[in-house]
Structures are given as structure tokens and as C-alpha cells.
Assembly symmetry: C2
Homo-oligomer: 139 residues x 2
């Protein structure tokens, strides 16, 4: 999914929050798993649309975050949807870089690897690759 | 999924934002469709856990929003997951009240009914029931 140019009203239609951001839900196309939630500013969305690879805005680092730039765990974007209030985006992606796929910096498939069970947040999925091994040798 | 009591560290583990809220991704169990994103404060989460039905915090109305209270489109909650940063929740639900299921106040199945196509946000799914009919006769 690559658009070399697109009308500004694609961006204007979005209700950016007070910080100029929107939350972005990321769903894996093949499994339908929700992999993560990240944030975009307008520059991140523009780059995502132009390149076809997911680019977010890192609130902690306060800069664009090209997903996979360190880990190699790039996300190829197939589809971008927007919700009724135009304040959340939903990306449908292929998560590249590892099999089975790893979206989370902890080495889990999905960031949502803890589930409420018996009154506690409980890990429900394994670490597929140790973070030291992910970030020692960026692809 | 009903927990008559649960430890406070379930709530304490969550990184609530400056307004005391977290975003909540809602995924339908049977279809794996992402239905919506809403927000919870700690009271909404407590009620959701206790009742087993989704309760959110409405930012526009500034009060608890028992999903389906007007529309009848209640969400039965099967699973609550939390992400690596503990600042987003993921609910797995059965969307009740209509067949096929309607989560969106617009009468669409999912709130994400518009997709970026050819440089414009384009409706990709039908209205299943007109909002006037949904909100005229709450179940």
C-alpha cells in the first residue's frame, strides 16, 4: 500500500489530540491478533502512507519511530481504517523480521501478553526471542 | 468472566494517564474484528470486572458509560489483557443486541468502517440498523 501523493483532507479529517497525536491499533492480517497500540502524529502517518511501512511517533523519545529501525521487526501496512469519531486509526499489517512474528520490544508476539486471571495480570504467551538478542544485532 | 473481588494491585499496575484514563481496544471473540476503542477510568474497570459487561468512561459525557445502556448493544467480556507498558487494555467480547453484531453508534458493525482508499476515507461496511431505530427503542 503506497500512495505517492494524497490529499491533505486525509489528514485534516483526523481529530488529533491536544498533542497532535492519535492512537493507532495494529492488527496482524494473517492471525487477526491485536499486536500493539502506538501513536502517530501527522508526519508519522504521511510517512506510513508514502512508504507502506509503519512509522509511529514515540512519546517517550519524542521523535518519529520507524517500527523495526532497531529490531528489524518492520510492519508492512496493508490497510488503514479510521473510527467513527475520527480519533483512532486501525492498521492491518504483516509483522516482518521473525517467525513466529514479534511485535513487542519484550520479545513477545503481541504487546498484550498479560491477561487478568484469578485477580492478577498473568503472562499468557512466551518470549519468542530475548530482547538482548533483538537489540544487539539490529537488522 | 466475573470476579466478585480482586486485589487493588490489578488497578495499581495500570499506568493511568493524566486524566486517570486508559484506552481500551475492544475485539470481538468470534470474528476477531476490532470493534471500537473506548476509555476506562478505575471505576469503569472495576465495574467491568465485577459485572462481566463492558463499562467505559465517556469523555464527552464525563461519566460512566455502561455500553448498551441506551442501545441494548451490551458487550459481554471474556478476557482482559494489558500491554507491555501497562497503558492500554484489550477486551475480548461478545457483542450482544443485534445479529449481525453492532458495536458502533452509527449502526455499523465496527467503528472502523472507513478505510483509506485512493486518497480518501471511504466507507467499507454498511449501516446494519439506522441510529434512529437503535436509540428510539432501547432494549
Amino acid at each position: 500500500m503506497t500512495h505517492p501523493a494524497f490529499p491533505s483532507d486525509v489528514l485534516d479529517a483526523i481529530h488529533w489530540d491536544a498533542n497532535g497525536l492519535v492512537p493507532v491499533v495494529v492488527q496482524e492480517r494473517d492471525t487477526a491478533d491485536v499486536l500493539m497500540v502506538a501513536w502517530m502524529d501527522c508526519h508519522a502517518l504521511e510517512e506510513t502512507i508514502r512508504s507502506g511501512n509503519a512509522c509511529y511517533y514515540s512519546r517517550s523519545r519524542q521523535r518519529l519511530w520507524r517500527k523495526g529501525e532497531e529490531s528489524g521487526h518492520v510492519q508492512r501496512v496493508h490497510r488503514i481504517a479510521i473510527d467513527c469519531d475520527a480519533d483512532v486509526l486501525l492498521l492491518t499489517v504483516t509483522q516482518l523480521g521473525h517467525t513466529p512474528s514479534i511485535a513487542c520490544h519484550t520479545g513477545h508476539h503481541s504487546c498484550f501478553y498479560r491477561v487478568l486471571e484469578d485477580g492478577a495480570w498473568t503472562e499468557s504467551a512466551p518470549v519468542l526471542k530475548h530482547p538482548d538478542a533483538i537489540y544487539r544485532s539490529p537488522a
